[in-house]
Symmetry: C2
Subunit: 290 residues, 2 copies
């Protein structure tokens, strides 16, 4: 079974106008109803920096806990981790960049400083898993291409620091099938991927990774998202688009596409605009004309 | 070298407000300047049915002929073929559908009637190559999935009728990597593909086909297009997006991406709106942030 981590309630809503806590809970509940079992529900960041993520603890507190469902929260620092753990999330995600310049611009820390902070967060987390998301893993808009062995080396250091799993992110859409294969040659396939549609390659990159053995993907309902701090980052791989492809490939996701498409409609309503997902727009391939 | 047949001046502009002949000639010239060597320049259809394709003969007459460049025209019937041959095109394309209902709705003929007409066109064309484009080759919004052997069988009948090459079209975006492989298993890889972005799968389908040995693709500058007669057909695979992927895969296209992106800007200007191509929007993967 492919592990789809739905990041829409965090990464998708992050750059949107704030959606009330009750509606975010409604969205996450609808995602669970559609069969998603791994959901990034919020981030514990400063509401001043990211107003749309205010009320993270309230979101977690209001969610119905269901067996087999993992709630993840993004934490930017030790304070955020402490709040997330206090709120009772099942997993925390931390970010660090394979691109030194991107790291400094995004979090005003060197990569070594970020790495030290990840270590502190992992220590604090104890038995709660910490997934480290390595941004700009397929290239940086600052340094250009980053040698895959360097990216994999950062992954090794993250594991040594206590991270329990690794996700490689194509933050600004520089990934291509070739770059995916090159990176997986260095990292192995037991990693997650977080792909962006900046250059229309998210689905071809995901498919290439699947064929190389990757079993874990971040996606966002509707294809919403894109870092507010990364120019031209564009949307995330849409959950609908990946589920649609996996369904037709005969691969299990546990997600019901029809129910998922009802959530696409819901999230478009919550953010007040159409979502980028093509499958949300066109319907699945078995849609019939009149 | 991958053979990219640029269909923007025909398929791309077909559903747009009419662009003057002189501007269409300017567009085609810019495409040649960018390195494209195979261009569908117009269709010889009734200007009443498709106003944007009026002046097809004038377009062909005004074009500078360059060695190694093939100009193609779509013809809907024998009369159109006669006009196209008179105008001096190097190749004609004819369409027929793997979906009987689509064929009847699109051209008000049975598939057998269309096939007979293709035979007449091929006879008239003599030494001029006739490429037969089989629409709904990856499924139909009317009949649903069509067995690949049936689609390939229609291809065989087209070759028997005189067609010199075959292109399989994913008219309403029902193609997926699995369907691409299934069809190529039946047809062999010496065919062209004409892919649509209806469900965001054009690039992953193209890449799957490339890996299966396909060397010929229809693309449209900016990703413009989509049949005005097929609900939800959405845009064609964007030339920029395919060239960008092929470049990074180390595959030769003869196309200069930077020049091509200048043509994206030109075509957006000519049609009066932004184009769907993601690479046109974001720039190539080596674009740097400030």
């Amino acid at each position: 079974m492919v592990d789809i981590r739905e990041v829409g309630p965090r990464d998708g809503l992050q750059a949107e106008e704030p959606v009330p806590v009750a509606d975010r809970v409604r969205l996450i509940t609808a995602l669970m109803d559609a069969g998603l079992r791994h959901i990034e529900v919020c981030s514990f960041v400063s509401p001043k920096a990211v107003p749309s993520m205010a009320g993270a603890a309230e979101v977690v507190a209001a969610l119905e806990r269901r067996p087999g469902v993992t709630f993840t929260a993004l934490v930017p620092n030790v304070k955020g981790a402490s709040m997330a753990l206090e709120a009772g999330v099942d997993e925390v995600t931390v970010t660090i960049s394979a691109s030194p310049t991107y790291n400094e611009k995004n979090v005003r820390m060197t990569v070594d400083e970020s790495l030290a902070q990840v270590g502190e967060i992992c220590e604090l987390a104890g038995a709660v898993p910490v997934d480290a998301v390595v941004s700009c893993a397929f290239g940086s808009p600052y340094e250009g291409d980053i040698p895959p062995d360097d990216v994999a080396g950062l992954g090794d250091r993250l594991l040594s620091a206590g991270a329990t799993s690794l996700t490689y992110a194509d933050t600004t859409g520089m990934g291509t099938p070739r770059r995916v294969r090159d990176l997986l040659d260095s990292t192995g396939a037991s990693v997650g991927l977080h792909l962006h549609e900046t250059r229309g390659t998210a689905l071809v990159n995901a498919f290439t990774a699947l064929e190389a053995g990757v079993q874990r993907f971040d996606t966002s309902i509707g294809g919403l998202g894109g870092s507010p701090f990364a120019a031209g980052a564009a949307g995330n791989l849409a959950t609908e688009d990946l589920v649609h492809l996996l369904d037709d490939s005969g691969l299990e996701t546990g997600v019901d596409l029809e129910r998922l498409l009802a959530v696409s409609t819901l999230v478009a309503d919550l953010v007040g605009h159409a979502v980028p997902s093509k499958v949300a727009e066109a319907g699945p391939r078995d849609t019939r004309a009149n």
